[in-house]
């Protein structure tokens, strides 16, 4: 009888935990907006999701990055990144790690001043995808200003998008190689893997 009482009391205490959660989960009051909202597009196609990624980057909005990236996200680095950041477990790079990276990077106050995309093969009618899946082969290019230092990144990547629930998400990103610096054709720029390695959690 005593045992049952103890266990029932503990069950009651434990059952109160979700109620206690209400206090634990109070969010802070935000400041009223003074600027227009970032004009994210509906996630009704892979092209819109990719544009949302660009908007999240240029606005340093980790919430936008969170919304664009799939729960099953995977990142695979290029060979240079893998050898430069040997201590990182790249095989475990999932959405949680990706968001931590984005948060760490955006927290530096870095200013992403431009970002653009170039298709590798014009023959790919990629943007629409088919049957809830799309794969792109592209070269991305962007510039980052951070505390007086300007660095540029240009890489060729394979991206995959998937329809999960009602929305499209970016589910896979594999950097293949750094690409030529448009301003200095004799040099090669690093991929975004260098940023992921630097700001990995």
């Amino acid at each position: 009888m005593t045992t049952t009482r103890i266990l029932l009391s503990l069950a009651l205490v434990a059952a109160l935990l979700p109620l206690l959660a209400g206090c634990l989960f109070d969010t802070r009051d935000p400041e009223p907006p003074q600027t227009a909202a970032i004009d994210y597009l509906p996630r009704s196609s892979p092209a819109n999701v990719w544009e949302n990624c660009r908007l999240a980057l240029t606005n340093r909005d980790s919430g936008g990055w969170d919304t664009a990236v799939s729960e099953n996200f995977e990142y695979v680095p290029d060979g240079d990144t893998e050898s430069s950041f040997g201590g990182i477990d790249w095989s475990g790079w999932n959405k949680e790690v990706e968001l931590a990276f984005a948060g760490n990077w955006f927290a530096t106050g870095a200013d992403i001043v431009s970002a653009s995309t170039q298709w590798v093969d014009d023959g790919i009618s990629t943007p629409g995808g088919s049957g809830g899946f799309a794969e792109w082969d592209l070269i991305y290019y962007f510039t980052v200003n951070s505390n007086g230092s300007t660095t540029r990144y240009r890489g060729r990547a394979i991206l995959q998008f998937e329809l999960e629930g009602s929305y499209w998400y970016l589910s896979y990103w594999r950097d293949e190689q750094g690409e030529q610096d448009p301003d200095n054709p004799s040099s090669t720029l690093a991929t975004m893997g260098a940023l992921r390695g630097t700001f990995s959690p």
């Binding site: 969010t27 340093r60 201590g87 590798v120 995808g129 049957g131 300007t150 040099s187």
Partner: protein, 708 residues
Amino acid sequence: MLSSVLIMLLVAGVVLAQDGDRSTHGSSAAADSSATAPADTTEIDTTNMTPAMRANLARLQAERDSRDGAAVAEDADAEPDNRIFHSCTNTPEVGTKANVTKANFFARMGNEVKVYGGGSISEAYNFSYDSYRRQDRTVEARGATVTYLSGEGAEPYKLLPVLLRLEASTNWSEDITVNSAGRRNTKQSETRRAGVNASRTNLRTGPVVQHLSAGWFYNSTAGVNLGETNERSDSELNGAVRTGIPIAEGLSLATRLYGTQRLGDNALAGVDSKAETTGDTLGVGGYYSRNGLSGKVVFTQSDFDRKFLDYRRNSNGLVDTTNIPEGASKIVEELEEKDAWEIAWENKFVLLRRFHIDTKMSHKYDKQQYNQSQVGAKERNNDLVTVGLSFSVGADSLAFGYEYKWDWDDQTFLGADDSRGRQYKKYRKVTANWIRPIFANTDLRCGYSGELAQDIAENEFNQNDRDRLTQDIDFEVTSNLTPTFYTSLRSGYLRKDDVAIRQTLSANNNIKRTYEVAPQYRWDISPRVQLQQTFRMYIQYQDYVYDALESVRKEDTFNKRGNLATKVTYAPNDRLEIIVKHDLNKKYNGTLVSEDLAGRESYSRDSNQTINRIEFGLTWEVAEGLKLQTASFRTEDETVRFSGESSSSSANRSGELWIGAVVDQSWDLGAEPLTFKGRLKRFLAYGPSVTDTSDDYWEADLLLKWTF
């Protein structure tokens, strides 16, 4: 300081053991050392311990022996072979692995000879070649390793009072990549390592058990990438002492002291310099197991210093050779210092055999500083508390969990007087689960999960102040109504609040709500035929918090998707199985256009999408060790988009067919087994996302291995 003490001990001739392969590579060494609990690798007198504690220690010991490459772990009861050389084994193997990304070819040759005293000499040679299908890239690698392990043979065959390991290895690789502009880069790397490690385990002085180790190695690395050379050679000295002391029944203490030093030369992009690395780790742990309580308290402290040549780096630690002051070199002589410490407590409490509480608390702190990099000094702090509680009352089983993380980091840029301010990350999570049988063969499961993640920038040095709240409730009823009919009904509610605190980003604050209901059943119509159907309905809303403000210009959205999946499995006999699947998806997207005074919302439809997918799969076991497989799918994707009074539609079709075989064959050639294992598939695909490299390709994983 600690490393100096250790090196003095080494000079005094103390025989040390193991950990010789714990070389220091970059800043990860200190972190690795601090991550290992000191008592986890120390043998302790288990006489006074509970059976559970002894079993746990035995498991840990087995893991350690396995890690330490115990070719010496021969059965102690076996009659030792007293010949100088015996039991020679050769293992050649060749194989290939191919997929849509690359084709890999590899060959390995292993050779091992047992030697007197329980030791062994082993050699291994390997070669691999990768050819990338999408890129203009090839990677070739070669390597060789020779190892002598003296063994800890039983008396009278014991050769040495210590376990001696001599090893030499060399690895070479070349990675040739041509980028999209046709520019070719050759990245080469060659590493060499040779040295000796001596270890002595289970050295007993009364109740105290010690493990000692010492090692010396020569390391050489030479590489070239993007036309820049990077060479380094050094000699490495390391040592470790691990001690275990039983204090009382169910209570023991373990300590670990580890130190390493590397001295040598470094040349980077034509600049030469001396290189030096020192590191040490001290660990102390207390273990207990009494009266339903078991756990450990561990303290670890480590220091690490490294002098090396490096490229100039910006305040984020990224290589920055384009913003160099006039006249300055892009190469700098860097000094990196890192100190870290951690204290952790883990506890398990069992009451009345059915009430369990698991608790974990830890505090970690580290400071990293650079003399040349614009990164300057960085501090990091991590605090963690987790509590798990589980018990059963009558027919009910309940489990609750709480997790709290409180982290911060701070940075003082090189040359700055003040730090930039702390970036805090706070995280809380509560989970609750309840399982109850409601009637015969039918269970109810309820779950709740809530988590709040907060980013807070001290002094507002950035705009990254954000709260993310996720709450998830789900219910599931599962039932085996009859032995051949299984059914379940799952429903769930998920809410995500995305709250940016600063006025520059708060316009996008929104709440996403998802409702889901998913009934399903599986019916074994006969032992050879099975039918399974799942229906899932998702409804998602995205509500912008400030959509009423004219400046925000965001509209709430609505999405609905229904999915009906049907699967029929037919196995006419034990060697043949056929699967047919059909998947029907209908999806609607809409945008809020009005809300009346009663709060009724009206949405306009933006698009309709219908996806039909049919799949067919077949597996046929032709003979023992040989299976033929094939699968195919066809997909049709139709979308209609509405814009005002007009609409546009598009349709895409895609499909794939693959055929393949799985082989698992072994031939016994006079007790020298030759095995062939493999999986081979050919893919043929079409559709808008299919490229020249993915419309027709082979996927293979083949291995031929002979042991003689």
